[in-house]
């Protein structure tokens, strides 16, 4: 059996999770300091990939990264194309996983008692230090939960990936895509095997997350607050 879809899926999900972690935290921290009706629109935009059909996301990404797309043109100047390459699987997975990271990171940051942040400021800390040394460590359990959810979502990404990255075995063929084309080719046993691998990974992650949040996870930090 060719194990490449497993390695491609893991590499894609890990890279996509790292990207969403940075982007999600930055977006959450940026959004937390602002208010107003325009922000509702921003929130809507950030959450859109969660509710749109993956085909819509894939189509929009194709427009963006295609040869005539605004980003595609820029990349072409550096002799790079994204469409139908491994980075395309990462981009598709990162975009669909982003809303989960953003939502959980924001909830976790909002839960940090602002008194701690005030205290840090009066002690001379810069805003960056307040975020890195106070807000982030206190929000960490929630952020970690967001990472696990993002990873699981990235691992399950199919529609946008297929549209942007295609199905190139050994290069862009992730587990969900391998399953789809195995069924197409009537290779039911191969499809079933990949299904069990996928269920195994996802279940382990989610069960681990629940076990952790209900034993020594976020609750512990919250209880210690006062």
């Amino acid at each position: 059996m060719d194990w490449s879809p497993l390695w491609i899926s893991l590499a894609t999900s890990i890279t996509a999770t790292a990207i969403t972690l940075g982007a999600g935290l930055a977006a959450a921290a940026w959004r937390e300091r602002r208010n107003g009706p325009a922000m509702a629109l921003v929130d809507g935009l950030f959450l859109l990939p969660l509710v749109l059909p993956p085909t819509v996301v894939g189509f929009l990404l194709l427009l963006l990264f295609g040869r005539n797309g605004p980003l595609g043109k820029v990349l072409l100047k550096f002799d790079a194309t994204v469409v139908f390459s491994w980075p395309a699987t990462v981009i598709a997975a990162a975009v669909v996983a982003f809303p989960l990271m953003y939502l959980t990171a924001r909830a976790a940051l909002e839960q940090v008692d602002s008194e701690y942040l005030h205290a840090a400021r009066t002690l001379g800390a810069t805003e960056w230090r307040v975020f890195r040394e106070v807000a982030l460590p206190l929000a960490w359990p929630g952020v970690l939960a967001g990472m696990i959810l993002s990873f699981a979502r990235a691992l399950g990404e199919f529609g946008a990936t297929l549209m942007l990255a295609g199905d190139i075995p050994g290069k862009t063929e992730t587990i969900p895509i391998a399953i789809y084309f195995a069924v197409e080719a009537n290779e039911i046993q191969r499809a079933a095997a990949w299904c069990f691998v996928d269920i195994g990974i996802s279940l382990t992650l989610l069960a681990g997350l629940y076990y952790w949040t209900h034993t020594q996870g976020p609750g512990r930090v919250r209880r210690a607050r006062r």
Partner: protein, 359 residues
């Protein structure tokens, strides 16, 4: 060494509009919950921005709406102590104390932390996390962390109100020590007149965003300028009043005439007396009549461990109402001496204990 403040900020229910100065002595800011006390401290610390005004510490302007100066909190060098200590839960005591000292070398930092741990009696607890400390230890650690930055001024936002009685008096002693050595502006926000009285010489009373009294504590307690200040500083007995001569007022709610020593300048609206200033005349003495002496009977009592509060009804003409006119506070030993005496008892509202208050 001076902190001068003149700020205006619109809040949900009223406008915070205060101006005052504080020197090298602690100043207590007294007021009911929701008077704007915490907001005032936050504006001084730079955590909130006033709408208008000016805040200056020594020669530095920290905020000036006209010159558009707004120094961020981290550069103000003003330490703040919070009601719930706000120690970082993910850092040990030593790491909390060291938080404001990243610019020092490791050796200097360790020396500074050790010295503050010693001064706040936390030796041995350096490696504990805040959740493993008692309430008093937590607040002392927060004090050590605040003092570590060698602040130019200190703001204390009800630092004792989350502590129980015993820890509170310990922490009070710690604060007294701290203030004695600090000799820079320190503002203590509290709603407890006794705490304010013990910890500072100067008082500032805040109500609905405005300064309603300020000055030496004895003067404010002796002659509160308004009914509200009298209430906030613990006065329990008030009656509507009407001047009838230069040194006599009629207490309308109490149904009696009182001689007063305080010069009647404006027409007084109220007369008041503090609960512990009411004198009881033992019935054996001959003085059961005389100036400002009135017969009364006991309506009900309320006990604390060492004192008793007696709710009294004055009885110029006997009636059956149980609505008390006055509450008097006496030590229990004294109460034991006259508790079995037959009614009417006689109380004296000494002329120089009476407080006249304008509308």
């Amino acid at each position: 060494m001076a902190l001068t403040i003149q700020i205006e900020k619109k809040l949900a229910e009223f406008t915070l509009d205060v101006s005052f100065a504080a020197g090298g002595e602690p100043l207590s800011i007294l007021g009911p919950s929701g008077a704007g006390k915490s907001m005032l401290l936050r504006c001084i610390a730079g955590l909130e921005q006033p709408d208008r005004g000016r805040v200056a510490l020594n020669d530095h302007v920290l905020f000036d709406s006209e010159q558009r100066i707004q120094v961020p909190a981290r550069l103000r060098c003003i330490a703040m102590l919070f009601q719930h200590h706000a120690l970082f839960p993910h850092r040990t005591v030593a790491e909390n104390v060291a938080f404001g000292l990243p610019q020092l070398t490791a050796a200097e930092r360790a020396a500074r932390v050790a010295s503050l741990i010693g001064r706040t009696h936390l030796a041995g607890l350096e490696q504990r996390y805040p959740r493993d400390l008692s309430g008093g230890e937590q607040q002392r650690a927060a004090l050590a962390r605040a003092l570590a930055i060698e602040p130019e001024a200190m703001l204390l936002d009800e630092p004792l109100s989350a502590l129980d009685t015993h820890l509170r008096s310990q922490m009070e002693a710690q604060l007294q020590q701290t203030f004695a050595a600090f000799r820079r502006p320190a503002l203590l926000v509290t709603h407890n007149i006794e705490e304010a009285y013990r910890l500072s010489q100067e008082l500032l009373v805040l109500s609905r965003g405005r300064v309603v009294a300020s000055g030496p504590k004895q003067a404010i307690l002796r002659r509160p300028p308004t009914l509200e200040v009298a209430r906030l500083t613990g006065c329990k007995n008030f009656s509507r009043a009407r001047a009838i001569s230069e040194n006599m007022v009629e207490a309308l709610d109490w149904g009696c005439r009182l001689r007063v020593t305080q010069a009647i300048e404006r027409a007084p609206a109220y007369v008041g007396i503090r609960a512990h200033m009411i004198e009881f005349l033992e019935s054996s003495s001959t003085q059961t009549s005389g100036e400002n002496v009135f017969p009364c009977r006991l309506v009900r009592t309320s006990e604390t461990p060492f004192r008793i509060t007696l709710f009294l009804r004055l009885q110029q003409t006997p009636d059956n109402s149980d609505e008390p006119h006055l509450q008097a506070e006496v030590f229990k030993e004294k109460w034991e001496r006259f508790r079995n005496a037959p009614f009417p008892w006689h109380v004296r509202l000494a002329p120089n204990s009476l407080i006249l208050l304008p509308e």
